[in-house]
């Protein structure tokens, strides 16, 4: 059954890697499950932590945990925002989607198997679309795993958190990471090798993270903030305010545009031996 088409074959190839990513998601949830009750139940410690953080230049704080400092010891959502969804979760998701996206075409070409695959009556566009479908499926699976683990951690620590808002922020992180995943796919379709495709996509992800995170402190960055996909991911704070349809649409459009570039570029170019 797992060999019926390119989508299923791709999912099959990545089965083992997914176990590793499941562990990463578990690690994320553990940070929450272990630290949140500690901070919640020790107001003195929490206050010390906030004071300590406030002693750093504000730019540094905003670069790594966002601007939700005041609430993050009192609201679980704010804690999750600062500790996980601001940096770690999106970064992990981008690493996942970028390596998956670059492996789709560039990896297969690098290993030399693309010739044989293309000798079948399967169009180049269909291969790109099916591999992208597998990427989307696994990114959603990863999101679902994270959400399930975070819900479990909430239950275990006797914390109430909205399942809907958690779904909103997970959707937002899925969309953000798919922007960079389809970008890595497109770079491979243009002809970059797997290492370069992953590297360029992840670097752009990290850059866009910093542009967004530092723009509140460094006013010079302010005009560039709207070019950062991270801005559309987190600025409306989906974990607290719900998914902003406008922002989600921007991310969706970016995915469609990069995917279209991937399809067009791959349709035209020579496959290397």
């Amino acid at each position: 059954m797992m060999l019926n088409n390119v989508v299923l074959k791709t999912l099959r190839d990545k089965r083992r890697a997914m176990i590793g990513w499941l562990l990463v998601m578990t690690g994320m949830s553990l940070i929450y499950a272990l630290f949140w009750p500690y901070i919640r139940d020790n107001p003195f410690m929490a206050q010390m932590m906030v004071s300590y953080l406030q002693s750093f230049p504000s730019g540094l704080i905003e670069a790594f945990i966002g601007s939700n400092l005041t609430q993050f010891t009192t609201r679980p959502e704010a804690f999750l925002d600062s500790e996980l969804f601001f940096l770690f979760v999106p970064l992990a998701f981008i690493l996942f989607t970028a390596s998956f996206g670059s492996d789709a075409i560039a990896g297969e070409e690098d290993r030399g198997t693309l010739d044989l695959l293309l000798s079948n009556p399967v169009s180049r566009s269909r291969i790109v679309l099916e591999k992208f479908t597998a990427l989307v499926a696994y990114t959603f699976l990863l999101g679902a795993l994270l959400e399930i683990e975070l819900v479990a951690a909430s239950v275990a620590t006797n914390t109430s958190i909205s399942l809907f808002r958690l779904t909103d922020v997970t959707l937002s992180v899925i969309l953000l990471s798919l922007v960079f995943g389809s970008m890595a796919l497109a770079l491979g379709c243009i002809g970059l090798g797997p290492g370069m495709s992953t590297g360029v996509a992840v670097s752009l992800g990290v850059t866009s993270y910093f542009v967004n995170a530092l723009a509140t402190t460094f006013k010079d960055l302010q005009p560039y903030r709207k070019y950062s996909p991270f801005f559309y991911y987190i600025q409306a704070d989906p974990l607290i305010n719900g998914l902003n349809i406008g922002d989600a649409t921007v991310l969706l459009v970016l995915i469609v545009v990069t995917l279209s570039i991937a399809l067009l570029a791959f349709r035209r170019r020579d496959i290397s031996v």
Binding site: L3, N4, T113, D115, L116, S119, N120, P121, D270, V273
Partner: protein, 299 residues
């Protein structure tokens, strides 16, 4: 443009400034086994990858089954079987999984035929591909090319790594394909292989097609190094001037010479003396080119 199964007209490919093939025109008829002969780097693989639409021509065009390869690649590939020159397969799969996957991409095939091919080629489909020798991987590549009984087989150095017994089985498979009226385009750098299975041969050198010959003509002009070990020294003059014999040298009781075409005359001349042994060496492709086209006619 001609009406052959494979037609190339003025097909040219440059990789940047590097030459792939230049102004190649060729026509392969239905039911023909066409050999595509040339040394490594002559442009055989480039031609094949152009035919399969993996790369796009700088100039010229190619048609398969009368359809343009760039426009109708999908339709064409339904009826084409392919073995790549640089074989790379999904190492994490078993042969059976690999063939199952490709069978699905071809919308199903007769699995009994796959089993039959595997049996003929003595191929174990249960082992992971990564654990297979090159020859065994090649067998799986051959099965995937033959399994849907394509109208055209495009094979790039298909016998690489096969032992002589399997090579013979492969030649039988080619003969059967031809008997069913299907067509084969087979690239090789080994002259005897091409002589064994092909009807006509295109000879490629440095990106250009220098000749298309019938295999019979090729054989009549083929060049061989011959070494005859006599029981005692014999006079060199006995062989000088014998039909087809060139470059005669004597070394004690061993005679070396080059023979063009049939060995008949030289063997008859040798029969006047007691012979211990006769050794023939197949010439390299470069030597064939020399004999066909002379040193000055570097294509």
């Amino acid at each position: 443009m001609g009406s052959g199964i494979v037609v190339a007209e003025g097909l040219t490919k440059f990789y940047g400034r590097q030459r792939g093939i230049v102004d190649l025109s060729i026509e392969v008829e239905r039911g023909e086994v066409f050999g595509y002969l040339g040394p490594n780097g002559a442009g055989k693989t480039t031609t094949i990858r152009l035919l399969l639409d993996f790369i796009r021509p700088t100039r010229g065009q190619a048609r398969i089954f009368g359809k343009d390869v760039s426009q109708s690649g999908l339709e064409i590939r339904k009826h084409v079987g392919y073995v790549p020159g640089e074989l790379a397969m999904y190492d994490n799969m078993t042969g059976r999984d690999f063939l199952t996957y490709f069978a699905h991409l071809r919308n199903g095939i007769d699995w009994k035929y796959v089993e039959e091919l595997a049996k003929r080629l003595d191929c174990n489909l249960s082992q992971p591909i990564r654990s297979l020798s090159h020859g065994n991987k090649q067998k799986i590549a051959l099965i995937q090319a033959f399994m849907h009984k394509p109208d055209l087989l495009i094979l790039d150095e298909p016998t690489t790594g096969l032992d002589p017994f399997m090579q013979r089985e492969f030649y039988h498979m080619i003969e059967e394909v031809q008997a069913e009226g299907r067509t084969v385009f087979l690239s090789s750098h080994i002259l005897p292989e091409v002589e064994r299975v092909c009807d006509r041969v295109g000879i490629l050198r440095e990106g250009k097609l220098v000749a298309v010959e019938g295999v019979k003509d090729l054989k009549s002009r083929a060049l061989r190094h011959l070494e005859i070990h006599f029981a005692k020294p014999v006079p060199k003059e006995a062989f000088v001037g014998v039909s087809g014999v060139r470059d005669v040298t004597m070394e004690d009781d061993i005679m070396h010479c080059t023979v063009v075409g049939s060995l008949d005359a030289v063997v008859k001349a040798a029969s006047a003396f007691p012979v211990d042994n006769i050794i023939t060496h197949e010439p390299s492709l470069e030597e064939i080119f020399m004999s066909f086209y002379g040193q000055g006619n570097k294509a």
